[in-house]
Amino acid sequence: MIKRFSWTATTTWLVLLFLHLPVAVLIAYSFNASRYGGRWLGFSFKWYERLFRDDEIWRALGYSVAIGLAATLLSLILGVSGALALHRARYRLRGLHFSLLYLPLAVPDILMGISLLLFFVLLQVPLGVLTIVAAHTSFCVSYVCMVVLGRLQTFDFTSIEAARDLGATPWQAARLVLLPRLVPAMVSGGLLAFTLSMDDFVITFFVSGPGSTTLPLRIYSMIKHGSPPLINALSTLLIVFTAAVIAVAQRFTKEVPRT
């Protein structure tokens, strides 16, 4: 029996391979007993053991998570209020504010890093965890704001009036009618902000100070001083963790009715 050759199937597999083969190689090598890549010297958990004993990595992860949570919380507060203002208010500078919202997406990270560094130095703010949180918030806000704005497009504001008509105070109307509709956007915007913050290297590189080494910065310095297998093990753990988060997020958004 001759199996028919299908372009669609072949290209699909090639693209998937292209995208995920490096990750697969990385995962495989995290179990490689060899200190150097290239040669396979047998299966081993030793890099994982080493990883769990490396205090500096755990401290860096702690910083990253703390900074990520803080930046997510701040950008959620600012982003949701900003989206509400941009969607509802009609004022002269609205167009300009929309462009400013898109700016952090378009401006190269390195420019943002340098300008933030100059800004902090000018204000004589000591570089450290706080400046990193501020920097991360400054670009995460844009993402949260845009996700929430997208959701607001489909929100019918007469339902707020309906709630007011049925006896709700402005605050009750926002809490009982608007908030439930915004939760999915806030969850996805928040997850986006958290991953962006966890992942950021370039901007963080500029605005970090002594004693505020985040995980990406730590990984970078580890590569410079040469311990790739350890990084392979760390990356594998991060991939597993990210996949789990995505799975949970998908579960969550499915339960919320669309539109």
Binding site: A162, R164, L166, G167, T169, L176, T259
Partner: protein, 374 residues
């Protein structure tokens, strides 16, 4: 019950509602009728509390509610798009008001069941609004508003999104509800048929002003001016000028006929441009030239169009350089009526008695307390 006292609302330089005074009585079905942009919705939104007037007062049962926020007014609104809460099911939508009002759980359950039964949606209690049809959504909106036992229900174009069949059914249903629970209904609509068929009284609005208010019959039979006549029902509106002749004041129309005026009104002064209003059902069509008769006009014309309407046929007849709309009843069984076809030449006759001279412009300044109490 609901009273507007010289209420004005401006959006920028334009007055959306201009010194409107109106009293709506207890248990009345009242319609605000007018083309879009005439200010009827703004007036309703001010009653509900979503807009605050720039001048004037709004009273509900003799209590000044002008400054009261929407959540503290004893009236409820049905929105044009129903504005149901999409994340709540039908039952919880209906129970929204009572929950806020802090009713006991048992009372909420009882009342919600009662309302679900009233609008015949018991089987859909657990459905989300997205899964309902237009008519069902509207009944949910109705139940959600009525559960709080408002003194007045405000309805903003409630049937605009429904098809004709459903619209008729909902109208009947609303009338039934109104008889059962005795709540006052205030409708906003641009659909004159809807307003005329359901309302006890109608106010016709244009450019933020009330042109005329009264029973549907009063407004149809005695329109206050050209605008009202044009908006309510079909009418042949003839341009003309008021002249004083040998036999007294008369209206000389551009089309030819001169109609004597027997009953003069304050606006009727010599030289004033005015309109002659002639309803289509008052025009008679005949094949032969009718004998000349005092007080009766006859014009020779040609049928340009005929629209069959079941019990009637509407004819468009070209005569005296203009089109005339005439309505001919088909008559009962065995009764042969003259029903011409397109292209036929015929005579168009009408009686002076059925001609109404009307002022062209809407009233200048309304007298105080216009919009009579019922």
């Amino acid at each position: 019950m609901l009273q507007f006292q010289s209420v004005t609302k401006r959006f920028g330089p334009r007055a959306a509602v201009d010194r409107v005074s109106l009293t709506i009585g207890h248990g009345e079905i009242f319609s605000l009728l007018g083309p879009s942009g005439c200010g009827k919705t703004t007036l309703l939104r001010m009653a509900a509390g979503f807009e605050s007037p720039d001048a004037g007062r709004i009273l509900l049962a003799d209590e000044d509610i002008t400054e009261l926020p929407p959540n503290r007014r004893a009236l409820n609104t049905i929105f044009q798009n129903y504005a149901l809460f999409p994340h709540l099911n039908v039952r919880r939508n209906i129970a929204f008001g009572p929950r806020l009002a802090g009713w006991t759980k048992a009372r909420i359950a009882d009342e919600t069941d009662r309302l679900l039964h009233l609008v015949q949606l018991e089987s859909h209690a657990d459905h989300k609004p997205d899964t309902l049809s237009g008519g069902q959504k509207q009944r949910v909106a109705l139940a959600r508003a009525l559960i709080l036992k408002p003194r007045i229900l405000l309805l903003d174009e409630p049937f605009a999104a429904l098809d004709l069949q459903l619209r008729r059914r909902m109208l009947l249903e609303l009338e039934r509800l109104q008889r059962e629970i005795g709540v006052t209904f205030v409708f906003v609509t641009h659909d004159q048929t809807e307003a005329m068929s359901i309302s006890h009284r109608v106010a016709v609005m244009a450019d933020g002003r009330i042109l005329q208010s009264g029973t549907p019959r009063e407004i149809y039979d005695r329109p206050a001016n050209r605008c009202v006549a044009a908006f309510i029902g079909d009418a042949n509106l003839l341009n003309g000028v008021l002249n004083a002749g040998d036999s007294g004041l008369h209206l000389a129309t551009e089309a030819g006929p001169r109609i004597p005026i027997h009953q003069t009104e304050p606006w009727m002064t010599t030289g004033t441009a005015a309109t002659l209003c002639l309803r289509p059902e008052h025009l008679t069509l005949c094949t032969a030239e009718p004998p000349a008769e005092p007080g009766r006009e006859a014009l020779l014309g040609t049928v340009r169009d005929a629209i069959y309407l079941g019990t009637h046929t509407q004819f468009v007849v070209a005569a005296a350089d203009r089109d005339w709309i005439a309505l001919q009843h088909h008559g009962g069984p065995g009764e042969a009526r003259f029903l011409p076809s397109i292209g036929d030449d015929l005579w168009l006759t009408f009686d002076h008695r059925h001609c109404r001279p009307l002022p062209n412009a809407p009233h200048t300044t309304p007298p105080p307390n216009e919009g009579a109490t019922p």
